[in-house]
């Protein structure tokens, strides 16, 4: 499999987009990741589920604006250069 650095960038953008579009109410509550169930304890064992939840939430908060910029840039570039 011949990977290039460009495909790595593409993969990264697609994955972060995928994490960013997960809607909390419609989708994540069905899996028990909902908004009202916060991170339960502050003990030293958050568990895998709480970590995943924290990760998703933090990615969505942090990467929202840069994703807009990066996505618009890639749309423009793909339109121009195919």
């Amino acid at each position: 499999m011949a990977f290039t650095l460009y495909s790595l960038i593409q993969t990264a953008i697609l994955c972060i987009n995928a994490i960013a579009v997960l809607h909390e109410e419609r989708f994540l509550s069905k899996f028990g990741f909902g908004v009202e169930q916060g991170v339960g304890g502050f003990g030293d064992d958050p568990g895998v589920k709480a970590q995943v939840l924290t990760l998703i939430r933090s990615v969505r908060t942090v990467m929202r604006v840069p994703l807009i910029i990066v996505n618009s840039a890639s749309i423009v570039l793909l339109l121009l250069f195919g």
Partner: protein
């Protein structure tokens, strides 16, 4: 032609200075006409005046105060630029931290390569510390370094080119393709390990560069496998790859066990609890991913 020994006092010095650099120049200009001398306004074919004039201008360049000033200004500008580059580069790539990983010597490299191929006899896998900072790799064979992975990566790309060449499938672009492909797999592996370490909430002191170093150690086994396959054919490739896979598996487990698991579990006692179990699974999967990558990145080279 005529070499008048004392044409002027200058001739002695320029000839000595230019003797090493243009030893052929004198003979060369003897064989054909020295037309470059015309640019300096000298007579053509006058090869004695040629080096004399060059030496003369060389001397004057160093003694002229104006050019001394220019030299000093230029060197201060260069050092300023270098400071700025260093400062900005240090923000992205921590150069000072990298220097620790390249502080190796030949004895360390030899021992580490031996460990990578035969880790079964080594007893003490702990990294020794010196007042809270890990000791440089030069003094401790268990410390991770970046020299072997870097050299291994480059050697792997070259050996891949060699292997492709013996099958008449080589073209210079393929070298770049192999290099970027292997690099992408490496980056993805390091990111996956980082992600899983975050999810399991392992409190380790493993830095990203440590993980990069551990993931880079498999290139040694890959190179051994491919070279054995080139020299002795496919059975040798499979045998040596099997040996190196087992060796890397044991090496990774023994190294990561001390870093990832808690102290009790690391000593071999069975500790119950989901956290330790998760960490054990994580160690196992990191170690098991190495042979998979080793096979994946080399099987297309041996046909």
């Amino acid at each position: 032609m005529d070499y008048t020994p004392t044409q002027s006092g200058f001739r002695q010095q320029p000839n000595m200075r230019l003797r090493n650099s243009s030893a052929d120049g004198l003979e060369g200009s003897q064989l054909f006409e020295d037309t470059s001398g015309a640019a300096h306004g000298l007579q053509t074919g006058n090869q004695q005046a040629g080096p004399q004039a060059a030496g003369f201008t060389g001397q004057s360049m160093l003694s002229d105060p104006m050019s001394n000033l220019a030299l000093a200004y230029g060197s201060s500008l260069a050092s300023q630029g270098r400071e700025m580059v260093d400062k900005n580069l240090d923000r992205f790539i921590p150069i000072s931290k990298m220097k620790y990983y390249f502080a190796v010597d030949t004895v360390y490299v030899g021992k580490k390569l031996g460990l990578l191929v035969f880790p079964y006899m080594h007893k003490n896998w702990e990294v020794s510390y010196q007042q809270d900072t890990p000791v440089a790799p030069r003094f401790d064979v268990n410390a991770p370094d970046l020299y072997i992975p870097a050299m291994g990566f480059i050697t792997y790309v070259l050996v891949a080119g060699l292997a492709l060449g013996t099958q008449n499938r080589f073209s210079p672009e393929l070298l770049g393709v192999q290099a970027s492909s292997a690099f992408v797999w490496l980056v993805m592996e390091v990111l996956a390990v980082l992600l899983s370490l975050y999810l399991v909430t392992a409190n380790t002191d493993l830095t990203t560069i440590d993980l990069l170093a551990f993931s880079g150690y498999k290139y040694v086994g890959m190179i051994i496998g491919v070279v054995a396959g080139l020299l002795f054919g496919r059975p040798a490739y499979y045998l040596s790859l099997l040996w190196c896979c087992a060796a890397i598996f044991v090496f990774m487990i023994r190294t990561l066990r001390l870093k990832l698991l808690s102290d009790a579990a690391a000593e071999g006692r069975l500790v119950r609890g989901t956290r330790n179990q998760l960490r054990m699974y994580l160690t196992m999967s990191i170690a098991a991913a190495q042979p998979i990558f080793m096979y994946w990145l080399t099987y297309h080279l041996i046909r």
